[in-house]
């Protein structure tokens, strides 16, 4: 840039930052504009996920085959994302599985502290393949010191009259001694 025959591009050097706290916004210490959008959606679920949710209402975990890729998929979908073909043949899976990975969570979405941490993770559901194949859920009836990858777990269902066709019809997964 020293040479005078070059076009100069000018820019501010090292612009400094300023500390800001959320109380500064609340107390209107800084000028700001506030808006609460009124935005709501109601998503259609589609045929495959609807059938899965109906299954949950009946206390069943359903899977569907992709025969071409030799997959038994859960949560089910109407097409296989690997071969791009349609899926076919519904199967009822067991409500047991293995912890694939987990985390012990101490914060809520706004980063407030939760005293009793939430155990959350991914369960590989028995019978579905190839591993890992399953979904995310809570863990219960175990302490944060007991939980580990590879642990066997079983679904704890809500009572039948409280189920509404949602992933939360399973309350959580608990330790499971059987095979």
């Amino acid at each position: 840039m020293e040479k005078s025959n070059k076009k100069e591009i000018t820019y501010p050097k090292n612009p400094a930052g300023t500390h800001l706290r959320s109380s500064d916004i609340r107390n209107k210490v800084i000028t700001h504009s506030w808006w609460e959008p009124e935005i709501q959606y109601a998503w259609s679920i589609g045929p495959a996920m609807s059938k899965f949710l109906h299954g949950l209402k009946e206390g069943k975990i359903l899977g569907i085959h992709c025969h071409k890729c030799k997959r038994l998929i859960t949560p089910p979908r109407s097409f296989c994302e690997y071969c791009y073909g349609p899926t076919d043949t519904w199967v009822e899976l067991k409500d047991t599985g293995t912890i694939n990975t987990y985390s012990i969570s101490y914060l809520d979405p706004n980063a407030n502290r939760i005293e009793d941490p939430i155990l959350i993770g991914v369960i590989s559901i028995d019978g579905a393949y190839p591993k890992p194949m399953g979904f995310m859920h809570y863990f219960g009836e175990m302490s944060k010191d007991e939980i580990k990858i590879g642990m066997r777990v079983k679904a704890v269902w809500k009572p039948e009259n409280e189920r509404e066709g949602a992933i939360t019809d399973i309350k959580y997964f608990k330790p499971y001694g059987g095979d």
Binding site: P37, E38, I39, Y41, A42, S44, P47, M49, S78, F79
Partner: protein
């Protein structure tokens, strides 16, 4: 440099409600049809995937993450363009012409029936400091003395009490229409003729959802929504998905496909300052100029055979026609009155039925326009086929409150 060709198109039917399928299903259907149309396997042959989507329409932040499975893009280069489908075509064009990609899939869709608060999402696009506060909640006392929500008029699922009414953001179209009518000596009846024409054209289009046999009188007697804008001047929303596959010329020839070239495109954004920007669709003028230059078009009125012009509001078709140079300023209404814009006219506009006849498919609008042009260029438009079509233009606008738009020009080989 290679030329860029359209080798596949696919689309769902367009419907005002689609409660039976979710957004993944309609994307999958459109893409599957486009890949079959091009006789390609997306998992082997497509090198890049693009979806055009706006997070707020979809209801997900980072919609990008919900895209790859249903378009065949798992573990492939894939990106989301936050804009109209023609921006996606442009991105694909650049990827192919630079030699980076050979075959590119572009998808856009609308699942607007999942969105319960369309007007509020649109209002959320207004400037939060200057424009939203004065177009948002209107502080007004409830004079009637009656309960806010009597049984015959219950509180809407989403919406404020009547102490804080909101103006639907389409009022901006009312402002612009007022300006356009006065500036060009166009009448409300002229605008009504656009609705009549496009909804009539839609009868000939099997996938259109808002075909209607109406007269100028029907439109004129429909209720004022944002005077001078009336209910039938407004294109109603629709669900649907469209997919395009573009490829370089070599692959197109190898597949034995008669090329239809994407020969030019352009895009432009005006400032978001609503009150200081012009109301003459400068974005359309500039994007068309860019597209004409790229396609080597010197006299658009003579060289372009058909066009699909953004008609989300009736006056927009006339305004855009003038902006992109298919009519002189104030001349669009003359062409309309002469019948030049009809399917059998000298420059047919919106033979598909346009957004007034097909429905407003949000970010898919540009691809819906492009779909009609390619279908006409292929000679596959059935009862609405226009003879000897060689060059067609698709134009879209990113709707209220934007001053953004894009143009694509397609040419038969």
């Amino acid at each position: 440099m290679t030329r860029v060709c359209v080798i596949g198109i696919g689309h769902t039917d367009f419907n005002c409600m689609t409660p039976d399928v979710n957004w993944k299903d309609i994307m999958y259907e459109a893409c599957q049809k486009a890949y079959a149309d091009a006789s390609i396997d997306p998992r082997k042959d497509i090198t890049s995937f693009i979806t055009c989507a706006e997070d707020y329409w979809e209801g997900f932040s980072i919609f990008d993450e919900f895209v790859p499975d249903q378009i065949g893009a798992v573990l492939r280069p894939c990106c989301t363009v936050c804009g109209d489908g023609i921006y996606g075509l442009g991105t694909a064009y650049m990827q192919i012409q630079s030699g980076l990609m050979d075959v590119v899939s572009i998808e856009a869709h609308s699942k607007v029936s999942d969105l319960l608060t369309y007007g509020d999402v649109m209002l959320h696009a207004f400037d939060p400091i200057y424009d939203r506060p004065v177009s948002g909640p209107v502080e007004r006392p409830n004079y009637s003395g009656l309960p806010s929500y009597p049984p015959e008029n219950p509180k809407p699922l989403a919406g404020k009490t009547d102490e804080t009414e909101r103006v639907h953001p389409y009022f901006l179209a009312g402002l612009e229409m007022q300006h356009y009518l006065r500036n060009t000596n166009t009448t409300e009846e002229d605008c009504a003729m656009i609705a009549v024409k496009n909804k009539k054209n839609a009868f000939l289009n099997p996938y259109a959802d808002y075909e209607a046999n109406i007269t100028v009188d029907h439109v004129m007697k429909s209720e004022y929504c944002f005077k001078p804008l009336k209910k039938l001047d407004i294109s109603p929303n629709v669900d649907g998905a469209i997919c395009f596959v573009l490829a370089n010329e070599k692959i197109t020839r190898e597949l034995g496909i008669e090329p239809i070239y994407l020969s030019g495109f352009g895009w432009c954004s005006e400032t978001p300052w609503l009150s200081t920007r012009g109301m003459e669709a400068e974005y359309a003028k500039k994007s068309a100029a860019m597209a004409y230059k790229m396609a080597g078009i010197v006299n658009p009125r003579k060289e372009i055979n058909i066009a699909e012009i953004d008609d989300r509001f009736t006056y927009k078709e006339l305004q855009h026609l003038e902006a992109i140079g298919l009519a002189r300023k104030g001349e669009a209404k003359e062409l309309l009155r002469e019948g030049a814009l009809e399917i059998k006219g000298s420059i047919p506009i919106n033979s598909s039925g346009g957004s007034l006849g097909v429905g407003n498919s949000l970010e898919a609008t540009g691809l819906q326009k492009s779909l009609e042009i390619v279908t006409q260029l292929r000679g596959h438009a059935g009862k609405r086929q226009i003879p000897d079509v060689k060059v067609g233009l698709a134009q879209s606008w990113r709707e209220i409150p934007s001053g953004s738009g894009a143009v694509a020009i397609f040419t038969r080989g």
